[in-house]
């Protein structure tokens, strides 16, 4: 138990410039806390996140990955988040079919006005990943 408490997961976040990254800023300026486990990477659109970025993070040893985009209907580029949704659906199905812990990959729609949702989601994600434990890919030298 004690060991599990000490486990501090590494989580990679791909956040869309127009919504989720702005929500992160809002959370910050509103002085809402979120765990330092999340390493945010700002991307121009959730639709620009190639599945290989997510795989690279996971296989490289990240314990979790979150893709944050504009809520459906609100994409700055009209349809980027819809495309991201299909890509991530396929990626998650592939991981699930092969028994590779698809629950380490989260997709969330968080608008620029939702600083509170951003902070809450990052807390929930960190808790969930802590519960899952370290990503076994982290230690495997042969993958």
């Amino acid at each position: 138990m004690a060991e599990e408490d000490q486990f501090e997961p590494v989580i990679v976040g791909f956040f869309c410039n127009w919504c989720t990254a702005a929500a992160a800023d809002l959370a910050g300026t509103s002085r809402m806390q979120y765990p330092p486990n999340v390493r945010p990477i700002r991307v121009m659109c959730s639709g620009s996140v190639d599945p290989v970025y997510v795989l690279r993070a996971l296989l490289g040893g990240a314990d979790g990955v979150i893709i944050g985009g504009c809520p459906p209907g609100d994409c700055h580029y009209v349809s980027g988040n819809y495309r991201a949704r299909r890509r991530m659906a396929i990626l998650k199905t592939i991981l699930a079919t092969l028994g590779l812990e698809e629950e380490r990959v989260w997709v969330r729609w968080i608008s620029a006005a939702e600083g509170a949702k951003f902070s809450r989601t990052m807390n929930e994600l960190t808790q969930a990943i802590k519960k899952l434990g370290p990503n076994p890919m982290k230690r495997d030298w042969s993958i």
């Binding site: 599945p51 209907g73 890509r87 396929i90 199905t93 592939i94 079919t97 028994g99 997709v107 993958i143």
Partner: protein, 373 residues
């Protein structure tokens, strides 16, 4: 109901009847050239070739139970720069036709000016098994078909063929039908399109059909679907979970042969061969330090998972990835298992028709509510 005609089988057997039919396309000036598998002089392999002299049809053998490569890729090579100006006939197996449909959707091939001739496929051997098979028999194609006519599925067939639910080609102008036919007497020529119907008319063939065909097809498809489910069960047992998956990929040497043999992996330069994967020495050593060791070449699992992401939605299950693997990794089994799930999620059947949009090029506003909250 589309029209069909009966082609008589004479002394030359089924192969003779098929060659005679292909020759008649020239006589009636319906094609200028034909892409068809030809027997190599060595006798132990057939390769796709563009035939412009009907004399060469003596070597044509689209019935040889071997598929060294998927001809859809060859149609792409011929038509990608510009569609053929001359009328080119193309003889394809069902999985080749299905791959070609996917390549057309991916803008890698054009069907313009092609006469598509599909041929029923009872299945194929690996190249090496075919080589041994031809040593033993006089006429590989006719011998194979008479074995097939007896109704026994040959356990030597490639695994991908044994679980293939598409023994009959779709979307071709013409279909050369073998299933449900009495191959000692006749084979079927079926029209799949209006162009195909015109050709049956122009060849002056007597129209006719057989009732036994549909039942024979249904029987074969259901047997194979059953076998496919059993295989899926096995793959889930053998390759699910990180440890087992890595055991399945243990012999991978990163040669990327599976990618080369895949009819659908179409990128001019593969991401994995690009400079993105050229790293500085300190990077490799840093990775090794983090895990105590680093498998070289790197990114074995990343390669296979990324290829799944890119191709699995269009995978037609031809199985040539497994054939190309020098170390017998069941790449195709994994693709079929994952593809079955992913394709069903999007109600997409690769190669079914040209109008179904590729799932990754489109979207619906209301869908996938379980992804993203």
């Amino acid at each position: 109901m589309s029209s069909s005609a009966i082609l008589p089988v004479g002394d030359g057997g089924v192969l003779g009847a098929v060659r005679a039919f292909l020759g008649s396309l020239w006589q009636k000036k319906l094609i200028d050239a034909l892409l068809v598998p030809l027997e190599l002089p060595s006798g132990d392999n057939v390769v796709p070739a563009i035939v412009s002299d009907p004399e060469k049809l003596k070597m044509a053998n689209p019935l040889a139970p071997v598929m060294p490569l998927n001809s859809a890729r060859q149609v792409s090579a011929i038509t990608i720069a510009s569609p053929s100006a001359e009328r080119l006939g193309v003889v394809l197996r069902p999985c080749e036709m299905r791959a070609l449909i996917e390549l057309v959707k991916l803008k890698q091939a054009s069907l313009e000016n092609l006469l598509l001739i599909g041929i029923d496929c009872p299945g194929t051997y690996s190249i090496s098994d075919y080589g041994r098979f031809v040593q033993k028999v006089k006429s590989p194609a006719n011998d194979f078909l008479s074995k097939f006519q007896e109704g026994k599925e040959d356990p030597l067939l490639r695994k991908a063929c044994q679980i293939c639910e598409y023994p009959v080609p779709a979307n071709t102008d013409l279909v050369i039908g073998l299933l449900g036919m009495d191959l000692n007497n006749s084979i079927l020529l079926e029209a799949g399109t209006a162009a195909g119907e015109r050709i049956i008319g122009e060849l002056g063939l007597e129209k006719g059909g057989v009732r036994s065909r549909e039942a024979a097809i249904a029987k074969m498809v259901s047997q194979r679907a059953e076998r496919r489910e059993r295989l899926f069960e096995q793959v889930r047992k053998d390759a699910r979970g990180l440890e087992k998956l890595m055991a399945a990929l243990a012999t991978c040497i990163n040669c990327h042969n599976c990618k080369t043999a895949c009819p659908l992996c179409y990128c001019q330069e593969c991401f994995f061969d690009s400079p993105v994967f050229k790293f500085e020495a300190e990077k490799y050593l840093g990775w090794a330090q983090r895990r105590g060791a680093l498998r070289m070449p790197t990114d074995t699992l990343l390669f296979h998972l990324t290829r799944l992401n890119h191709m699995v939605i269009s995978c037609v299950g031809c199985g040539l990835c497994t054939e190309a693997c020098p170390n017998n990794i069941p790449v195709a089994d994994i693709f079929r298992l994952v593809g079955d799930k992913v394709q069903k999620d999007f109600e997409y059947v690769p190669g079914r028709n040209l109008d179904d949009e590729l799932p990754l090029t489109t979207f619906r506003e209301e869908e996938l509510h379980n992804i993203g909250i």
